[in-house]
Amino acid sequence: MSELSGEQLYDGPDEHGHFGIYGGIFVGETLMPALEELNRVYTKLKQDPMFWKEFHNDLAHYVGRPSPLYHAKGMTKALGGAQIYLKREDLNHTGAHKVNNTIGQALLAKAMGKSRIIAETGAGQHGVATATVAARLGLECHVFMGSEDTKRQAANVYRMKLLGATVVEVNSGSKTLKDAMNEALRDWATNVDTTYYIIGTVAGPHPYPMLVRDFQCVIGQEARQQSLEQCGRLPDSLVACVGGGSNAIGLFYPFLKDEAVRMIGVEAGGLGLNTGKHAAPLNTGAPGVLHGNRTYLMNDEDGQILETHSISAGLDYPGVGPEHAWLKDIKRAEYTTVTDEEALSAFRFLTRQEGIIPALESSHAIAYAIKAAPDLPEDHLMLINLSGRGDKDIHTVAQIDGIDA
């Protein structure tokens, strides 16, 4: 391991947005000044207690935070091992952790005087969370979404439209999240003077991975305090699903310096890693450059990005936030996978055991727990980020069951 102290290891990124060799800013020149400006504005506001006061005020009264830390006794009993605690991000307004970030970035957009907001979305959760804050602030909003995803997340498309957003179907490339992100970057370069781009995860060029993390950190900050209050100590392990990695880093980051706390990120294993049909860059990929940063990517030997597969649209992405790439390399966090099928049975399991319908993304974290918890002692505290609720996935699951829901 590196000779750096814990402070330096975990206090990334550096001023150029690097986490070790990862991160950075890889975009066309047109966007460089806009990113410089965003970094300048955010660096200043980050020091301003009034900014954070407004952020936390919105989180309390609009989002409904703090979200509970729930001791899932039914699940714990059924698994017969570790004590399972669920961080209930599914109870947030709009149904997932995504809104923590859009509330924060909307404040930035306002501070920068932008009149128009754009976003990319996969599952539609980030799109809905963006359309929501745009409606609240009276800003024009365009959401880019791959046409594969508009099909499997039709309810969220309609929600965005109800909220007044324009949903732009993206038909290029693999027609999923990565292509939506390409299209958002193109729009941003074209309308850079008026437009604020709300990236939905801890990816993209610097300063996005940093600022999205900072906004999502409220998850881990609350969870840490709740664990101390409710259990009298810190958890032994943290579990979160990893698409771009925002709910995972939001949970992990405030615990990074608690060296005894294990961290497990769960990527989408799709139909199995050996089939190639998955979305697990940290488990199978190699460092490369996509969407503004250097990170682990799924690409072929010529550097072309591979098509991904996951049952959950929100995890269906060939890259991952650069800070996760770094945490993997320095071995502070571990990254594993569960398959579509395991996620699906976890979806059913949690629904029946706890009366909580999880998002298919979050079901990946639950599936890991189902595999790992039985082998752990009863005094092991496992804290799982339940990043979102499953209402948006009812159709997908019903279809698999052959039911017309």
Binding site: I25, G173, L297
Partner: protein
Amino acid sequence: MSRIEKCFKQLKRQNKKAFIPYLTAGDPNIETSLNLMHALVQAGADIIELGYPFSDPSSDGPVIQRAVERSLAKHTSLKGVLALVKRFREENQDTPLVLMGYLNPIECMGYQKFAEDAEAAGVDGVLVVDMPPEEAHDLLQIIHRSELDCIFLVAPTTHEARARKICELSSGYVYYVSLKGVTGASHLDIDSVRTNVNQLKSYCELPIAIGFGIKDAETAAKLGELADAIIVGSALVSLIAELKDGHEYSRDELSKHIALMAGMRAALDRS
């Protein structure tokens, strides 16, 4: 002196502007690309920008996106594009070639191998769209040890301090992006290009090439007056899009098909 530098010196002596067409290699296939490159030289191209495909061209508009998709459908690789350059050089040792594309294929090949192979194939310059000066250090170190030029972009959003740094780091020429947007856009404002390019000229010692949004001979002539070179991409790629993949085109047929290029060249010379 690099081939690019020599080219600009010679044009300057003749009081001419450089005409730089862009095409995506492998669209609709490698054979046609090779013939198109020769046809472009016949049409009066001084330098050719040769795009190597990347699956996620986030700075490109729909015309070049589709060209890239056609090229990738043929499994065109960076390696394959270097082989194409080599074949072009068997016949043409004079026209400078600039590779243009995104960073990931180069990262995958490895910077050192890329620079060596590109130079050996007969490439003269490299323009990596998503590699701003801030992230160019490692590749530049390697490129500086080779004969290759490294070309960077200056955009309408670039402020002077950045632009000065970009001019210092560049060699060969500087690519001025004429509009805020992606390739193939059409909201060109010639007055603002004039203002920005004039300012750039006051401290940039390299030739300045203007690209993005040049679709006809008239615009080519107007922008040619402002700088040392013009770059034409989407207008050419739209013509290439009409070619059939299964068909073998003679150079004459291709020349006829891309007659717009010779027209732009002529307009540029009149300006």
